[in-house]
Symmetry: C2
């Protein structure tokens, strides 16, 4: 009896191991090997490394041009070298302005004395390094010396100006004050300038990341009253990187634009301030009450203004070139050295930058170290692994953009995937990326355990989605644990890979239990991080495990684990969305025009308040979606057929597998339109782009969607045809892959 | 040619006048006469009267038991008499507690010195009458002397305690602090006591009616930092009126309960405070952050507590009987003196009570005066008009409840309708009531012009609904201008008429452009009112015109303008709602139970925070709605048939018309269940009641709906049968009306 029982147990074990061993793109034998390496990888990960490296890297302010920025690059390069990587520091020389004069006054009011400084916090040593810090400023603001009445513009996005127009408030010749949030910060002065404002103040309202959200530093992680969010206001939705060298690397001798011709430099002066400095300015504002959704958390009544008193804003910058230090560390592939798996995170911070970016950077370093341990034990990545530590992400994705522009021909050929991370902390996995990667990523999320609970990061993600959903969504979602990848907009170093070159990309990180208000302030310190963001670096380890698996599976897959079905389904959702957007716009325009004609807006308005009714809008035409719809049907059929055949791919000859892999990772390139998007040709991906008026916020099918939003029907129709052509080209690649498998 | 043109013009005029002259329940000839009287009525209305009366009536605090309360009753009675009304002052003698001791301390903290007083405001004379004011207190709070840790309970409704239970916070033996709003205030200490709290503090958060909402008094109408909302915390969802004399008038020699047996007196001490007094208490609270929806507008981080420090609350009251002065003024009907049209508003205020209640009271007085002018010119109401000015509404609807209980036999026979108003101000018509009255009310809303715009109050109401609606609702609503009557819950003097006796009732008033934070505070003054609430009393005039028309058309209709179709449709909506409530509860329970079993709530929770998962709930059964559904079909058919025949009603013989009218106004009585609602037999209407746990908030089909909400399936089934029986009885009345018309 005993023997039989044992045999049964063993066979059960074998079955369950086999079931486990099926991983996308690997033969069974290779999968078993791969999973074994991953186990050893996990076992070698040490949280204490991340702690030690963060302590050093965050020990002094390390913004572009600072001594610590260079020291950090060298520190990391030495480590990568010590782990056996072919490592170089690659420098570029972009324009990087730093503040010379920052003056903010209420004209005729001597009592207003804004601090414009972040005082040290007891018990946090690095907050005392005020002499080394860049003070609160917005990089690529214009120089300016302006005095004018102040107007509150909420988040400063186009819809806010429509609302102001309804109230009869014009910002022409005024200085605007906007709350941080609701859009990428660079949108605020851009839209303000479009409306004729001559200056822009941005402040951190306590409702967004101050005492309203939680206890302030040092009791909690939220923004104290004098905390200031630094940040770039370059017009990155037009192009990121050095404003003087669009599309080419900012090498020493690159041809440069004249500064006055650089269209991404902001047109008006912009200054970020704390809520303590903002409150007296907001108290100057008269005029109508703000709409309820505009209110902040200060103990005042918010008005739109304008103020009676004038505000004086004077800003001058040092318009210098600064040297960037990208660290590039390669582990050449044993079989396919010209297929590159690129993993990156930036290393520059606005001040001490513990959470942003070092929490992600040290996780990446630990991946590199742990892989080097495996290599010592015989692990051989088939493909080349490239670890990158980018400089100058904060000002404008400078380091990654210049490197990608500089190496674009090589990258178009060799780059299989770019895997990005940035800040990381306690909580839940968050992932965005090319939707061909969704099943692959889910497989990995199912293999990594959450550090705090006894479930996988996928299970924990599902639990959160379910708990946060409303009743109707819960019913629909129940049992469906698939993690939907978000679409990539802008905000970190994947932009040039994905949106300029069409390299399939991912951006991952943990968060949700790491909230705070330290972002881009002097309080983003090591002390705050280990107290509030990821004590013990357990989520640093989880990021290492997750991103490490992505890197290693991509590096060693027999057949690259891209999935066209997943791409088709997602794009199909986007097509349905833009069609619904057009239809809703049509019916809403009809109803609103009737309401305007019947004067309902005027009649409903409080006559004691100024109200300028909206104008009747042109009717929304029907557009011809047939080419796009036909392209989608072809894509659907081809994708379904390919995925049916995918299981056979590992049985192909080496030569055919290599051809297939080439198609698989280059398929994303066919989504690139060489002409680029309207009015911003640098952005060439027809499925994903940052919003022209949202910044970070992604716009999918951007050419179509933004044209509909801007009511430019000719452009919308034109872009429907462009997207249809790109999808036809993409389907061509899928069909070529099918041909290899038949 | 000229002659012909003229003839055409005249005939057009006649047609359009005839079209106008069709008003519900009047023969054409009588309609023309009625409309002519209404024109004269409008012409005689003077805003200056309302101004003058409000100035006098609000000149001193006029709460129950104050000299001004009595003086006001006499002032009004004299006016009604001078206008020819048979007028009497009818007194009752209810229990009305006033504060003797109010002590609030932080134990061991001498620095906390709450004001518990509302300081005078410069430029507003009556705010200086501090010696005459009742200070901030909650009437019918228990006496008490308690010391305990403090817990923040948000609005203090049952859902808030469920949330606290999830955080592992128990209020047993604690003092709770709750924000005003979100429920009737009496719910807060009641639910607190049910959960074991020993004291309750209620404060006015600036997010609700202070600086967050708008400029504070005297710059604007919102609550200054020391403003306090007084108010009753009697358990009125059980029964309103004198706690010692339920169901009978509190006459001098009425039999009274012992105070300890009066179940509507609150079980724990309760004190309302200002936000200035509340902030230091809220700052004591430790523990978890409040859920985002619980946050208020103070410049602090809100925590749930408990506090480490103890709070000491000591309250003692004078438990006295006080004399009430209801003014009852009658104009006997010329033809049907035993059919009463009753119009009422209360006259007592918590302090100077300009907006609440005098703005409605003076509009009613002007109705009475203007009607008396018509009477001098020959106008003869067929039915008796009764104008009422109630005392003691603020503490517990005392005056109206005692009068209705005292006269219940007569009212059941004679009362055709009760028309209520209370506070009134600039803005939009708001109307709630028995749904048989909806078409009648809409006809009137179409005949009254809005004072600020060139449209009717109905058009303006429609404009607002459209402008405020989301896109989907706008599309559905476009062109449908019908004003839907709200359902009556509690909160003013209609309760005993409608919910105790089944007298069809309405409650109307203007508002929406009169926002402020003066409610039940010393700042509800004449000065504030004429500056911010209804400058020029133009909406006072509009209320006079609207309520005056309701009164006069009801008084003179040949056939009473009740509409059964409208009642059917509304109740049908309610039946659909409770069925959907049950179905949703069933599917949500299923999903939530699965989520609990899979530990999703625990997995999704931040392990750094205490979390107590909810327990699996019993499954929700299917209930038998067939009797109710059959009753609805019968009601639908009968109502449709009656409304088809209604046009013929004016042609009936006088005797038959009288019989028909008797049926029409008594039909609502058949909705009365003599046994009353579960656990609160005073409330007998099976369609409308105040919520047992919401207070003001109405619950329609209360017996069914609250049983489903409380998961008491046996009670729900029983109440389905009761409602079905009441609707069958109602349909019996409709059929009797049809028989008269056939």
């Amino acid at each position: 009896m005993k023997k039989i029982v044992l045999a049964l147990a063993v066979s059960f074990l074998v079955v369950s191991m086999q079931a486990q061993e099926k991983i996308m793109g690997f033969t069974e034998a290779n999968a078993a090997r791969q999973l074994n390496w991953e186990k050893q990888f996990d076992a070698s990960i040490k949280a204490s490394n991340q702690d030690e490296w963060m302590k050093f890297l965050s020990s002094h302010p390390h913004h572009v041009g600072s001594p610590q920025d260079k020291a950090n690059a060298e520190y990391m390069a030495n480590l990568f070298r010590s782990w056996g990587y072919q490592t170089e520091i690659v420098s570029y020389y972009p324009l990087f302005p730093t503040p010379k004069t920052r003056k903010l006054e209420i004209v005729g009011n001597k009592n207003y004395k804004p601090k414009l400084q972040e005082p040290p916090v007891a018990g946090d040593k690095t907050t005392e390094q005020t002499a080394e810090q860049l003070p609160g400023y917005n990089a690529y603001s214009a120089d300016g010396d302006v005095s004018a009445e102040l107007v509150f513009v909420n988040r400063g996005v186009p819809a806010d100006y429509e609302e102001l127009a309804r109230m009869g408030v014009d910002v022409k010749g005024k200085i605007v004050i906007a709350k941080y949030g609701g859009s990428w910060r660079g949108i605020k002065p851009k839209v303000a300038a479009e409306h004729g404002a001559i200056g822009c103040i941005i402040y951190s309202d306590p409702a967004d990341d101050g005492y309203v959200q939680g206890d302030t530093y040092p009791e909690g992680a939220f923004k104290p009253k004098d905390g200031v969010q630094r940040g770039s206001v370059m017009d990155m939705p037009v192009y990121p990187g050095d404003p003087l060298t669009p599309d080419v690397g900012a090498t020493k001798d690159a041809k440069r634009l004249d500064r006055k011709d650089a269209m991404t430099i902001m047109k008006i002066p912009v200054l970020p301030i704390s809520y303590a400095d903002a409150q007296p300015l907001l108290e100057l504002l008269k005029g109508q009450l703000v709409p309820p959704s505009w209110r902040g958390g200060l103990p005042i009544t918010y008005h739109v203004g304008p103020s009676v008193e004038k505000v004086h804003l004077k800003l001058e910058f040092n318009w210098d070139q600064k040297q960037l230090y990208n660290v590039i560390a390669k582990l050449p592939g044993s079989e396919l050295p010209d297929e590159w798996i690129i993993r990156g995170n930036h290393h520059d911070g606005w001040v001490n930058g513990a959470a942003d970016p070092l929490s992600g950077m040290v996780a990446e370093m630990e991946e590199a170290r742990a892989i080097s341990e495996l290599v010592k034990k015989g692990y051989k990545p088939k493909r080349t692994i490239v670890f990158c530590a980018w400089d100058g992400e904060e000002p404008a994705l400078l380091g990654s953009t210049e490197w990608v522009e500089d190496h674009q021909q090589e990258l178009k050929q060799k780059a299989v995937i770019y895997i990005n991370s940035d800040g990381n902390g306690r909580g839940f996995i968050g992932a965005s990326g090319s939707h061909t990667l969704e099943p692959f990523f889910n497989e990995i999320a199912n293999d990594v355990m959450d550090p705090q609970t006894n479930v996988t990061i996928k299970e924990r993600h599902y639990a959160r989605m379910m708990v946060r959903a409303d009743a109707a969504t819960r019913m629909k979602m129940l049992g469906n644990k698939n993690i939907r990848l978000g679409a990539l907009g802008a905000g970190s170093d994947y932009s040039s890979f994905l949106q300029h070159l069409g390299i399939a990309s991912m951006d991952i990180g943990f968060g949700g239990e790491n909230q705070g208000g330290e972002y881009h302030s002097a309080y983003d310190s090591y002390d705050l991080f280990v107290k509030f963001k990821d004590p013990g670096f357990h989520y640093g380890e989880a990021l290492t495990k997750t991103a490490g698996r992505i890197t290693m599976r991509m590096a060693n897959a027999d057949v690259l684990p891209f999935n066209f079905n997943s791409f088709y389904k997602t794009v199909n959702d986007y097509v349905n969305e833009v069609q619904a957007l057009l239809d809703n716009s049509r019916s809403q325009t009809e109803v609103e025009n009737k309401m305007i004609n019947e004067k309902l807006f005027v009649i409903a308005n409080d006559p004691a308040k100024t109200y300028v009714p909206p104008s009747v809008k042109g009717l929304v035409p029907f557009l011809n979606f047939s080419n796009l719809e036909n392209a989608m049907v072809q894509l659907k059929n081809a994708s379904a057929e390919f995925q049916k055949l995918y299981g056979k791919a590992t049985q192909l000859s080496t030569d055919k597998v290599n051809q297939l892999n080439d198609i698989l990772y280059k398929a994303e390139r066919s989504l690139i339109n060489p002409e680029g998007l309207p009015r911003r040709s640098w952005y060439k991906h027809e499925i994903y782009a940052p919003g022209y008026y949202t910044g970070y916020g992604v716009k999918t099918l951007p050419g179509i969607r933004e044209a509909i939003e801007q009511r430019n029907w000719t452009e919308a129709q034109g872009n429907i045809e462009i997207v249809a052509q790109r999808l036809e080209a993409y389907t061509g690649q899928v069909n070529a892959a099918i041909a290899l498998l038949k």
